[in-house]
């Protein structure tokens, strides 16, 4: 069975785009295909003029479950990508150190993941991905297992990082609030087989107010579209 069909979209440089859809609709699969972890039976992916055929250093992926290496400390997790590249030890330690500082993780360099809170673990994971300097950052429901306040503060942190580093973000979520708070553009998917229901541009100025954006017409529209898609109709 097709997981999805006719899904085609473009993300502009430096844009923050979210994909939202009912759970199990294959949002994660889209990210896995773009990141080269899974092969699509049909279709193609380009970054500018580069055809992607497998895992590529232009694409970074942040997982919902953080996926930190439990046997590596914060510093060792962050420097993983540089170590793979064969960067000399002293240089990669200092580069990882800069990221650790920028991500508010100083003092936790030598802690193992099990000693960190969920929010800190996800910051380590984002730093580990960004240190490779990807053109596109894919994020698969990265904040969905965090509690409310931590999630809010990580959303703001992500926006700051995004604005500072001019990285392009493709963000999968099932939360309308999160999508409208963060994104320039939201892609709404249907249930399986997933199709694009609508692409909605959000031209609200930043910084946005959480309460205001939550009750915006765009938020309502997305919510209604999802409600239609989520409730199965039997005839």
């Amino acid at each position: 069975m097709d997981v999805f069909r006719d899904i085609s979209f473009t993300v502009e440089h430096g844009q923050f785009v979210s994909i939202i859809g009912p759970s199990g609709c294959g949002k994660t699969t889209i990210l896995k295909i773009i990141s080269g972890l899974e092969k699509a039976s049909e279709g193609e992916i380009y970054i500018d003029d580069n055809h992607l055929t497998g895992p590529d250093k232009m694409v970074g992926l942040v997982f919902q479950e953080y996926a930190l290496f439990p046997w590596r400390t914060t510093l060792q997790n962050v420097e993983f990508g540089l170590e793979i590249k064969g960067m000399e030890k002293r240089r990669r330690k200092s580069a990882a150190g800069d990221y650790i500082k920028a991500f508010g993780l100083d003092g936790f360099e030598d802690k193992y993941p099990f000693e960190l809170s969920g929010g800190m673990q996800q910051r380590v994971a984002i730093a580990r991905t960004l240190i490779n300097d990807p053109a596109v950052l894919l994020m698969d429901e990265p904040f969905s297992s965090l509690d409310g306040p931590t999630r809010n503060s990580l959303q703001d942190f992500l926006l700051k990082i995004w604005q500072e580093r001019k990285v392009t973000i493709l963000f999968v979520t099932h939360s309308v609030e999160e999508a409208v708070y963060l994104s320039d553009r939201v892609i709404v998917l249907s249930g399986r087989p997933a199709k694009i229901v609508k692409i909605i541009d959000l031209d609200y100025p930043r910084p946005r107010g959480r309460t205001a954006i939550r009750s915006s017409p765009a938020a309502k529209e997305i919510f209604d579209l999802l409600t239609d898609e989520t409730i199965p109709v039997h005839m």
């Binding site: 996926a67 046997w71 590596r72």
Partner: protein
């Protein structure tokens, strides 16, 4: 309080045993009393069984044989186990063979071992190797197999090659299981050793050999003393491995 509690059961048991021996319900030739055994420990430490072959030499030779066979089992079992855990094809290929050879008790190999290696350290090490190899192999393989696939995905998206994934994800990720395999393996190795020394000792040293001599000269107290030493040594080895594990695997 907990510290005290764990000693209560053994001490009570020993006290009952001693009383039964004093009252004559358990005859000496069936089971010597705890005091007899302590006295025998004195004998095997300072006089030796056979005389002149002191306990510490028996113990060192036994440890040497175990170390040799066990080291060979780890050197062969860990890499092969990692490959088996990683490659489904290799696992399907090797598993039937492993499952067929594994149930053969190491002792059943004794005649073959003597045929191949003669009586001596090499055949003893071979038999110990057989005992320790399978626990190490299978625990390592299951450890690799149980590494969350998402960690491998994460490494791939960070541009790790297959070689990187092998050395930087599979190997470190399976270390806890390797330790479990080593602890089970060294236990089996130690059990196998004593049995192997019943039949394959060239130089008159080894705890198993010592027990055989004690049997031949009809000294049940020395047999029991030898058994106590074997048990205590196994315990110490296990404790040392646990320490090494908690020191190396600080992340678990």
């Amino acid at each position: 309080m907990k510290r005290i509690r764990i000693y209560i059961a053994p001490l009570v048991l020993i006290a009952i045993w001693q009383c039964l021996s004093w009252s004559g319900i358990i005859p000496y030739f069936m089971l010597p009393s705890p005091f007899n055994i302590i006295a025998a420990l004195w004998d095997i430490i300072f006089t030796g069984v056979p005389p002149g072959h002191l306990l510490h030499d028996h113990l060192l030779y036994s440890l040497y044989r175990v170390l040799l066979g066990f080291a060979a089992a780890v050197i062969a079992g860990v890499p092969l186990g990692i490959l088996m855990g990683w490659s489904t094809r290799l696992r399907e290929f090797v598993s039937p063979l492993v499952e067929m050879v594994r149930p053969i008790p190491p002792l059943a190999w004794v005649p073959i071992a003597i045929l191949w290696f003669g009586i001596g350290i090499r055949s003893a090490a071979f038999i110990i190797f057989l005992g320790a190899f399978f626990p190490v192999l299978l625990n390592t393989a299951s450890g690799v197999h149980s590494i969350s696939p998402i960690l491998i995905d994460a490494a791939r998206t960070l541009n790790a090659t297959d070689k990187d994934i092998f050395f930087k994800v599979l190997v470190p990720g399976s270390v806890p299981s390797i330790f479990t395999g080593m602890r089970v393996g060294v236990g089996v190795a130690w059990m196998t050793l004593v049995a192997a020394e019943f039949v394959s000792v060239e130089n008159g040293y080894g705890l198993g050999y010592m027990i055989m001599v004690a049997r031949d000269i009809q000294r049940p107290d020395e047999i029991l003393a030898g058994m106590v030493i074997i048990g205590l040594t196994g315990l110490v080895i296990n404790i040392l491995l646990r320490y090494a594990e908690s020191w190396i695997v600080r992340w678990n």
